[in-house]
């Protein structure tokens, strides 16, 4: 059985309670050192892994940039096409007098033979017509053509009205688009 030798003078002897505390602290220090080493290694490892990942991503990005540069013509064509399409739509949405002409023509198409249009001004919002009617019936037929609810005009205003026995009725009409 081993003997427990202690050659220190008795006055330097550590009390039992202090010895317990010191023992606990020593154990705690060892645990903390181990934890510190694990923490440092983990941190370093995580840093290295992320750096490798970053380098790999940067390489991929560089390759992709090269591939995109090789497709520059396609990119330019897309940019031009999108620019043209936007502006073409803008241009096509500009008001045109053609709708007014078409609308007026649909009214004029049903007129009797005794009716003639001597002048016709059209812009995107309205049309002004100078018309001649040989007989009262022709004029009545024209006026009745505005009674339908499906007419494309918001208003029809009689701007002038004249009559001569030789040429019949001379009428000026202003038609405003809806």
């Amino acid at each position: 059985m081993p003997d427990n030798l202690n050659l220190l003078p008795p006055e330097l002897a550590v009390s039992k309670s202090l010895a317990g505390v010191l023992k606990t602290l020593r154990a705690l220090s060892v645990i903390m050192v181990v934890l510190f080493l694990l923490f440092s290694a983990g941190l370093g490892g995580f840093f290295v892994i992320n750096n490798i990942s970053l380098n790999s991503l940067n390489q991929n990005v560089s390759q992709l940039e090269n591939q995109i540069s090789a497709q520059e013509t396609s990119e330019q064509q897309i940019v031009v096409l999108k620019d043209r399409v936007t502006k073409i739509e803008q241009a096509k949405s500009s008001p045109s007098a053609l709708k007014t002409i078409t609308d007026v023509n649909s009214v004029l198409a049903n007129l009797s033979a005794g009716t003639s249009v001597s002048q016709f001004n059209a812009n995107p919002t309205k049309a002004d017509l100078s018309m001649s009617f040989t007989t009262n019936a022709d004029l009545e037929s024209f006026i009745q053509s505005f009674s339908g609810s499906s007419l494309p005009f918001g208003s029809a205003v009689l701007t002038s009205f004249g009559y001569s026995p030789s040429s019949g009725y001379q009428v000026g009409v202003s038609l405003t688009e809806k």
Binding site: I78, I88, L98, F120
Partner: protein, 210 residues
């Protein structure tokens, strides 16, 4: 004492290491996003080269040229008379007006003489020519069964974009509605004199200094 040293080391390593890790994580995240964006962009560019719309670049550039299209418009108006048995007279191209949103216009006035139906057919027809033009106003006078229409037509042009987006900027493919517009544009009556004008954009498909 050793415990205190370990605690201090913990604090030092954490203070130095954690910001470094956060920085690298940020860089990885940014690079990941860039990679995703570039992959998507490359996909769009590769699929675009297979897209039939690529054939409409020239038609779109003729429909909306990058410079004043007056000479082409005059030629188109003359060619269009054969459609409707009308005669064209007094054609005058006005000066260009720069629009507010980079869309510029140029007015052309002319006189069309023919039957009423011929004149109206002609007015419809010229809306189908390239470059895109609209009839702004018409004054038709009739005399002895012959109609004379004084027409003001507006044609459009716009400079090409001057800059190409940066390589990392995402790009979207043409939408169905954009393809539909391009198909409409491709069906416009094309001018026969494009090659005669050196500055005509129809031949410059890559206007970014290539």
């Amino acid at each position: 004492m050793p415990l205190a040293i370990v605690v201090i080391l913990f604090i030092l390593v954490a203070n130095f290491g954690l910001p470094k890790i956060a920085d690298v994580r940020n860089q990885v995240s940014t690079a990941q996003n860039l990679k995703t964006s570039l992959t998507q962009k490359l996909g769009v560019l590769q699929s675009f080269s297979q897209n039939p719309a690529v054939n409409n670049v020239s038609a779109a550039s003729i429909a909306l040229p990058s410079s004043d299209p007056s000479p082409i418009i005059v030629s188109q108006l003359r060619n269009a008379t054969s459609c409707c048995a009308v005669t064209l007279a007094d054609v005058k191209a006005g000066s260009s007006a720069l629009g507010s949103s980079t869309l510029s216009t140029v007015g052309t006035t002319f006189q069309v003489v023919g039957t009423r139906s011929g004149v109206i057919d002609y007015l419809h027809y010229i809306q189908t020519i390239a470059p895109i033009s609209i009839v702004n106003s018409v004054r038709i006078s009739e005399s002895a069964g012959v109609d004379t229409a004084n027409v003001i037509m507006v044609s459009f042009w716009a400079p090409f974009p001057k800059v190409i987006p940066s390589i990392s900027q995402p790009i979207t493919n043409l939408t169905n509605s954009e393809i539909a517009v391009l198909n409409q544009v491709a069906s416009l009556v094309q001018p026969t004199v494009v090659q005669g004008f050196a500055s005509e954009p129809g031949v410059n498909l890559t206007p970014f200094g290539q």
